[in-house]
Symmetry: C2
Subunit: 423 residues, 2 copies
């Protein structure tokens, strides 16, 4: 048997154990993990130093290198994130519906863990602890496969957490780290359809497409966030400007940042010049349609690719549209099903926008930057799904569980003829 299959089978066995853990046991486990991370910060920082050295040797520098770097404060932040996850409501055991059937059967829909979750990521080392804590809190076992850039940090963090599992008499395999980072090993992991219940890739679009292409296990995908702000004819202009500035400039490199501004033609002459000015003042490059450029001299021309782009940068595409219907049509054509915002004072426009747009998050008069597990009250977030299945939008602990049926009877049979003792 291959090594990855052996590891995964042990993880599946561990999932059976995690399945039955009560809330208190999971919370204690996570609190001990947080404390252990802090206690082991010297070891973690030493491992991190090796990653930094390796990255520097490869020529990585600036913001990229900084994202990889851990220090005492960042280790403390990682530990605190684990404590916050421990404080989340436990989704396992949640009874979402109760019903008594006409034949007296008592039904409950109850949430249970998914089982074995494979996290494939290439982000900063904090994802190792975040993802592990969230999966374990939801009663799952987890297989982590991080990126090569943070391999030493990831292994060090995982080792600390695994030791805590063992101290709690729980199988360390509940948190399995794949240290063999060859692509073929990842592909093998993604094809263990009898073992892995769900794969969650987190990283660039290339990684996600690779996982989706090679997986034979279910995958929750998040390709990109091409988020739109539509400024309706009835919009409060000051409010819309705030949403625009927040959406585009408060953190341009994230998926819930705005990428496209759509403006109703009846408000464009008034709104667009102001919008262009505040954006320009903040260093944002604006690329517009012909009608936009007629209103704002010197604006660069947008092409179709700009409307499909996730810039992740201080660039925005702008288009003047004839009406709400045209805005909806634009979003249906160019959107990524992530988050769309309408600024409007008309309830009928808000309703029509909600009804026609099928993105995971629809905002009325609020910034796209709120499209985030923490801001939407989920606590920690394992990712954002743009797959319209299982979970859609920001995913917290509950998205790592599924509902099943618990049925209590008093001997009910489906066919009366089956009764040996007819009443």
């Amino acid at each position: 048997m291959s090594e990855v299959r052996t590891l995964a089978l042990a993880c599946r066995d561990a999932a059976q154990v995690m399945f039955t853990l009560d809330t208190d046991s999971k919370r204690k486990l996570l609190h001990d993990m947080a404390a252990a991370l802090e206690a082991a910060s010297e070891t973690i920082l030493a491992a991190n130093a090796r990653d930094l050295q390796q990255a520097s040797a490869k020529g990585v520098q600036g913001a990229m290198l900084d994202r990889l770097r851990l220090d005492q404060a960042r280790v403390a932040a990682i530990a605190n994130a684990v404590r916050e996850i421990a404080a989340l409501p436990d989704p396992v055991g949640l009874v979402t519906r109760r019903e008594t059937r006409p034949n007296g059967l008592q039904l409950e829909r109850v949430r249970i863990p998914l089982g074995v979750i494979a996290m494939i990521y290439e982000a900063r080392p904090n994802v190792t602890a975040d993802a592990a804590a969230l999966c374990l809190m939801a009663g799952n076992a987890v297989i982590l496969r991080g990126g090569s850039e943070a391999v030493h940090s990831n292994i060090a963090i995982a080792q600390v957490l695994r030791e805590v599992l063992e101290r709690h008499d729980l199988p360390a395999a509940a948190l399995t780290m794949i240290e063999d980072l060859r692509r073929e090993t990842m592909v093998e992991l993604l094809q263990l359809s009898d073992i892995v219940d769900l794969a969650i890739p987190r990283g660039g679009e290339g990684l996600i497409r690779f996982v989706a292409e090679h997986a034979r296990v279910p995958v929750i995908k998040h390709y990109k966030g091409v988020c739109h702000l539509f400024v309706d004819a009835s919009a409060d202009e000051a409010l819309a400007l705030n949403l625009l500035v927040d959406g585009k400039t408060s953190r341009p490199g994230v998926c819930n940042a705005l990428e496209t501004l759509l403006v109703h033609r009846d408000i464009a002459a008034s709104f667009l010049p102001k919008a262009a000015q505040v954006l320009e003042e903040r260093g944002v490059e604006v690329r517009g349609c012909e009608r936009s450029r007629a209103l704002v001299p010197g604006m660069r021309a947008a092409v179709d690719e700009d409307y499909a782009a996730e810039f992740l940068d201080l660039i925005i595409a702008v288009r003047v549209v004839d009406d709400l219907g045209a805005a909806i049509g634009h979003i249906q054509r160019f959107g990524s099903d992530h988050t769309e915002v309408i600024a409007t004072r008309e309830e009928v426009s808000a309703r029509r926008f909600i009804q026609a747009i099928r993105s995971a998050v629809v905002m009325i008069n609020a910034s796209s930057r709120f499209s985030d597990g923490g801001e939407l009250g989920l606590g920690a977030e394992i990712g954002i799904s743009t797959t319209r299945l299982h979970a859609y939008g920001p995913m917290g602990a509950e998205a790592l569980t599924v509902e099943r049926f618990v049925v209590r009877g008093e001997g009910q049979v489906r066919h009366a003829a089956s009764r040996l003792d007819p009443a």
Copy 2:
């Protein structure tokens, strides 16, 4: 562009239209579909006659041929099933949670349709109308790919339903039938990951494995139902016998029939001989472990394959187990995550069984045969998922939708510095 891709793209456009339909419009549509099926019964029966002729020519006979056969009464039953689906609660627009965040944002979690659903099936022609009606009622568009044995009946039924869509000024492509039944065409359909939101295969294990192997779109799988009845030491024996007879004999060919009986050793001497007798009287072949055979002379020996088998026939595997823990271990090893039953009078045993068994449906003192969308109150059923994701167990209309976020604000921004007009 290939023909199947062209068809699928039209179906995706149609999904945008179905997305916005209100409940009344969908109900009227389905009622007209039911009436149209009845009105077209001559045409449907003529098409069905061709399928029957073709099947007979291939040597199909008996129950197999009968399952394919339609008559006036069966067409009426198909129409009535569509009416029943129209009467279901509409899952679309269902607000499952409301919350006001500390910053005043008003959140709603609201159900929306999945989009485009591909049904791959090889069952009786009624599935064409059932699946179409259920997908449409949940606001989706549907691509149907039925089996070759019922091709003429399926096309005739789909044609009737498509005409009703057109009469309602809705795109006929919302119900797209793939008439090209080559396997490579099915594979192409299953790889349209930018168009198809979900594939649901329904049929034998071979079909489901083929779909799972070739799909690049999400698949909800249901391989098999190896359902267990565990008779605890504290069980009411008469009650347990009823569950056994109902579970094994009322309809042995379906997935929620019992396949394995586990008996606590403390009750085995009393219970097993009675169980063997009632099963034998009903023509059930019993295959048992050594301890079972010591209690029931003449019982055939069971092998491991018997415990893993979905017999779909009047055969049952029996094992005497030391205790509840051993029963759980057996189910964890041989179960299929479908439905398991415990007969017990001890609440503590029931709880432990529920807690340790992670099957989609767990029954206490009730027949496994109730594990069915209709019996569990879902109305019609599109299938039963044994995939612990999205939907688990019987799937009704709601499982063809997903929750998204609707957020209403008054201009909230995430970073205070984004406000141009600080309060």
